[in-house]
Symmetry: none
Subunit: 295 residues, 2 copies
DNA sequence: AATAAAATGATTCATGTGTTGCTTTCGCGC
DNA sequence: GCGCGAAAGCAACACATGAATCATTTTATT
């Protein structure tokens, strides 16, 4: 559909070689590219003032297998128009890549696009609001079970470098939720859960909500069980071509959240990192020095 | 399709009153609004993991005459979104994006680009080679400490769904590395470590290498201490504008690795997932069903 | 525990779809 | 005027689609 689209160019290039009815059909495609995928061929033909068969013939004249192939091409253009970079991304990996490499490349490209989709105004707004709410909490409890453990743990780990406000609800022998008993109305519970939602997470969140604790969540849908009870919910895509859902967008959100929180009090952050640095230096935790030396 | 769309709101509002299959269908509509008008009802139902009839029922539950009316509504939204797209792009830089929004967007965009950079031939090749090596290992030991715990744990979690070849070197009271004592030359140790490299990880890797265990690693540099002793090393970017290094690319690599491994024996994978599914169903682990039902 | 009610799955059906082969029309040189 | 070839219209077909119906399972209620 955009002026630079290769199909559009082809249509224009071949136009003069087409004849009568084909031209009329082609003209309609050029002028109403978005209609193509949204209505049936017969209806499209009616609008274009052309016989249905002409559309089939045009498709073949353009080198497509049949009309459906042409239609699919327009549908694809519609899907990816929002992010015009999609073509760029697709072309990027077009060089000589091996059989199995293509599989991995597709997974990574798709995930990359999902991260970009998080830059839409809506998730950004929620993320920012969540950061503000977390910043003024007395304590921040964090829970994320099973696959979501990845995100919850990472959030807690980073926050624990910055202070002692974060409490990870993840103890052995099922004691994970116990710390919540001391939660107050000034506290916030960050719940991370994506489909399939772990039952324990939901129970814990519900209990906390009843206690008056503010719930914020990183989850995957506006109709997630968490979205209803959350003060703020950031929605992240999780779809993947593999058999499990991807956690990469959720983790990226967690990192962004941590960055925003660290920004709210730069002085305190630097001070905390200084202490952490000294601590780890004394213990020889690291084989090389932490990287925030030169910030 | 936009967050404020009345149909979307209605869908969310009515969601709790819907039942089972209807909810699953509704969820798919919410998460893939642009697909609705672009594919047939039956195909949509397949993607949503739902019977075709369910889509008809959902349409009527939402007050539409039939599915076609619903579909027309989505088609209209698609048409209008594109109209609105023009001026949205026009005032893109100007409008109300809060200060913190830009910060988060920058982080996410940068991370997204880093994922794309993993689609270069070099990392893909390494990743594929690593997957092949892991596929024929007797046991796969996994270690990743501190921030890298995120990646190591995720890899182990997914692999544990697929079988019992994976062993996570992460026990309490410093016993994490003990399992390595039983490692043989037929085993592989996957080490995840980025700067600053945790000393314990390196010690463990060195010991394993001396035992004759094959080392593969996800790390951040060709001159990482791990790269030298690794049979295969996938390098991932970790740079971030925040004070900590990003783990998102490393996690994405882990996911891709898992997908490649799952692909090597599809039958076994599906069988293992079936078992996992039954297990969790019996225990009521999840509040909703795992998503791989309809693959 | 038994029954009713609702939800889900499977089957069937009428309709609309894209396609194809055939007929008709049109343009053009002889 | 007459054939000739390409383009355009037409109608029938095979097939997929959305919807309606009935059977089965699940869930709730008494």
């Amino acid at each position: 559909m955009p002026p630079g689209d290769p199909l559009r160019e082809q249509l224009i290039a071949q136009f003069d070689g087409l004849s009568g009815q084909l031209q009329q059909a082609a003209r309609y495609l050029l002028e109403h590219p978005n209609e193509v995928a949204l209505v049936s061929m017969r209806e499209l033909a009616r609008h274009a003032g052309v016989q249905p068969a002409t559309m089939t013939r045009l498709a073949k004249a353009l080198g497509f297998e049949g009309y459906n192939a042409l239609r699919a091409r327009y549908a694809e253009a519609l899907r990816h128009e929002r992010d015009g970079f999609a073509d760029k991304a697709r072309r990027a990996g077009s060089s000589k890549i091996a059989d199995g490499d293509e599989r991995a490349a597709n997974l990574l490209r798709k995930t990359s696009a999902q991260l970009l989709s998080l830059c839409d105004p809506e998730p950004l707004m929620q993320l920012n609001a969540m950061a503000k709410r977390l910043a003024k909490a007395r304590k921040v409890y964090v829970v994320g079970l099973r696959s979501s453990h990845v995100v919850a743990w990472h959030f807690h780990y980073v926050m624990s470098l910055l202070g002692e406000r974060s409490i990870h609800l993840d103890g052995p022998a099922g004691t994970g939720g116990d710390a919540l008993m001391r939660a107050t109305k000034n506290d916030v519970l960050l719940v991370v859960s994506i489909q399939p939602y772990t039952a324990d997470s939901l129970v814990l969140a519900k209990r906390a909500a009843d206690q008056g604790v503010t719930i914020v969540s990183i989850t995957d849908s506006a109709v997630s069980p968490l979205a209803g009870i959350s003060r703020h919910a950031v929605l992240c895509p999780t779809e993947s071509d593999s058999f499990f859902h991807t956690l990469v967008p959720a983790l990226a959100l967690s990192e962004a959240l941590c960055a925003l929180l660290a920004d709210t009090d730069r002085a305190a952050t630097l001070d905390a990192l200084q202490r952490a640095d000294e601590h780890h230096a004394a213990l020889n935790t690291y084989a090389t020095l932490p990287p925030w030396r030169h910030c």
